[in-house]
Symmetry: C2
Subunit: 336 residues, 2 copies
């Protein structure tokens, strides 16, 4: 198994990225090959800091870097030798089995879709994001690849999300909920109303509508929505920990006793909310393309990168793309 | 000023509702008249528990109660003598200046829209919800009255939200943000893309798109979205405190030392997150109808009801409905 890692993508690239990749390789006991994509000299410099002899890693040089603020389509056209394009081409040519990037999300999604191509039967690839719940983890799909989805697309998201939940989150017969504003099937916008009956007869373990409050409650293993809604929910969710932190700082600010108290509390809070950090969730795969691209948070830490690389290997091992293609074809045959 | 309160609406009605209303009246120094709508005997029973002589309150009898689980339209047709219908009729006849209910939200919204009618120039009334931010409070509109809004409706929400933010949240020249999935004007779904230019030339203090992470960060005073998105965000937000609580209990469960520690922490957490409880936010007004209906959370506590009643009086004093009608007309003239 060969896992490519965009060494240049992320706010703290290549430093934290390379280190995270190396940690993943070490933790796995050298089980796969790590392919670091990016500027050779920069990557080698980072590797020299870490002790890597005997580790199963290689470098594929890419001279350019797509910066976080660049417009995806323009950047992809102009920077043909960027780590994102070079890595995606390796992925297309099956020289690697998965590709992880914490770089420019739009550029990475566009490159993955254009270069890898869609799987047979998939109308729209979608990003799925594992989110913490009080019961464990759920999978929010689509969390940002598509706006103005059609009902059929939500059905596809349901198929893809169920496979991820079963194979990776190890949920037997995962429950699927449609994100909506009420429980009854008649509730919601036109999209939700039209998707409901499709999901009902899909053969998925569809449990009906779920509301905003049901996400953290863990009411469904897979939560379906259009990417516009999903992306807003995801970014809102990601703001909760920083907001808590801000409130604590503001509470304690200028008061030494309160500061000590807040410091003690924050250690416990970290334990209590461990699963609520994106770092442990293994990144957000773009499902429905012919390959395994995993999107990382721009501010990915070493821990976050390590977990994404390990997740990528697991997804490749489970052959997620082939499972999706087979299931989508079956559902479509059924619907005809 | 006369403020009506649905004594029968809410999980703990009439007990907590009547008590909250009485507290508001007391706190205001008997400044307005509180009109309790509902079963006379049940209300009188609650009042007898509280010491109310000299308080400026009256009862309007309504023999029926619309329960929380009932289908709004059916319930409104069948229960013409319910507290929601009776209160809305009083409101329509200008016998009261505002009406607060923590009862069946759908039924209350429908009754308010149908019985009070829309203000001139308003295509779609919308629910606005004050939400906490690290800087104070923002106003999310629409948080659930409409799905599949059109661009013009988002403009109306912007006008109504700006008036609420200015008059009630005391923000001078409130900033208005369009909830979206990226900063650039070209981002988002068809609705957001079409609403952006309307907002740009509206004369509102439009600051462009805001993302999910910007809500708690307080980037905009007024946050505009379709009610489908807004309702999901709102219910998700409301689930944060219960989720934190659940995580703490689960952390401490079965370990006496941890339980003591968690107990100590929870007192501080309550202080730190005080603004994050819906109880202090004064309820969610339905704006754009000819009157001031304020929607309360089903599980409204005494504190929540007190704050809603006081907010209702403030909104009536500020004559919010007339201000909306005037502004909407101006914006429409401008757009022609």
């Amino acid at each position: 198994m060969r896992i490519a890692l965009d060494a240049m993508g992320g706010d703290e690239a290549p430093l934290k990225i390379v280190e995270g990749g190396v940690q993943a390789l070490r933790e796995s006991g050298n089980r796969f090959e790590l392919v670091l994509v990016g500027r050779k000299d920069a990557i080698e410099k980072e590797l020299s800091r870490l002790s890597v002899p005997g580790l199963n890693l290689s470098i594929v040089h890419a001279s350019e870097v797509i910066e976080m603020h660049e417009t995806p389509n323009t950047a992809l056209k102009q920077k043909r030798d960027s780590s994102i394009v070079v890595g995606s081409n390796l992925h297309k040519e099956k020289k690697v089995d998965a590709f992880v990037s914490a770089g420019n999300t739009g550029a990475f999604m566009a490159a993955s879709t254009l270069i890898l191509g869609r799987l047979k039967g998939v109308g729209r690839p979608a990003v799925g994001t594992p989110l913490p719940t009080v019961k464990g983890t759920c999978f929010l799909i689509d969390s940002g690849a598509n706006s103005d989805s059609r009902p059929q697309h939500l059905l596809e998201f349901g198929v893809m999300g169920s496979i991820y939940a079963r194979e990776i989150l190890r949920k037997e017969n995962p429950t699927v909920g449609l994100l909506n504003i009420g429980e009854e099937s008649s509730k919601g916008n036109e999209l939700a109303q039209a998707a409901y009956p499709l999901l009902e007869k899909s053969g998925l373990n569809f449990i009906g509508n779920v509301e905003g409050r049901d996400i953290f409650a863990g009411k469904a293993d897979v939560i379906l929505c259009d990417g516009f809604v999903g992306n807003i929910v995801l970014k809102f969710a990601e703001s909760i920990l920083p907001t808590l932190k801000n409130r604590f700082m503001s509470y304690a600010s200028g008061n030494p006793l309160k500061l000590v108290w807040a410091g003690l509390m924050s250690r416990t809070l970290k334990k209590v909310l461990k699963g609520f950090s994106y770092e442990v969730q293994g990144g957000a795969p773009l499902l429905g393309v012919d390959g395994i691209p995993i999107i990382g948070h721009g501010s990915s830490s070493v821990l976050a990168v390590k977990n994404m690389v390990l997740r990528a290997e697991e997804m490749a091992n489970r052959n997620i793309s082939r499972l999706i293609e087979n299931s989508i074809t079956q559902i479509e045959t059924k619907a005809e």
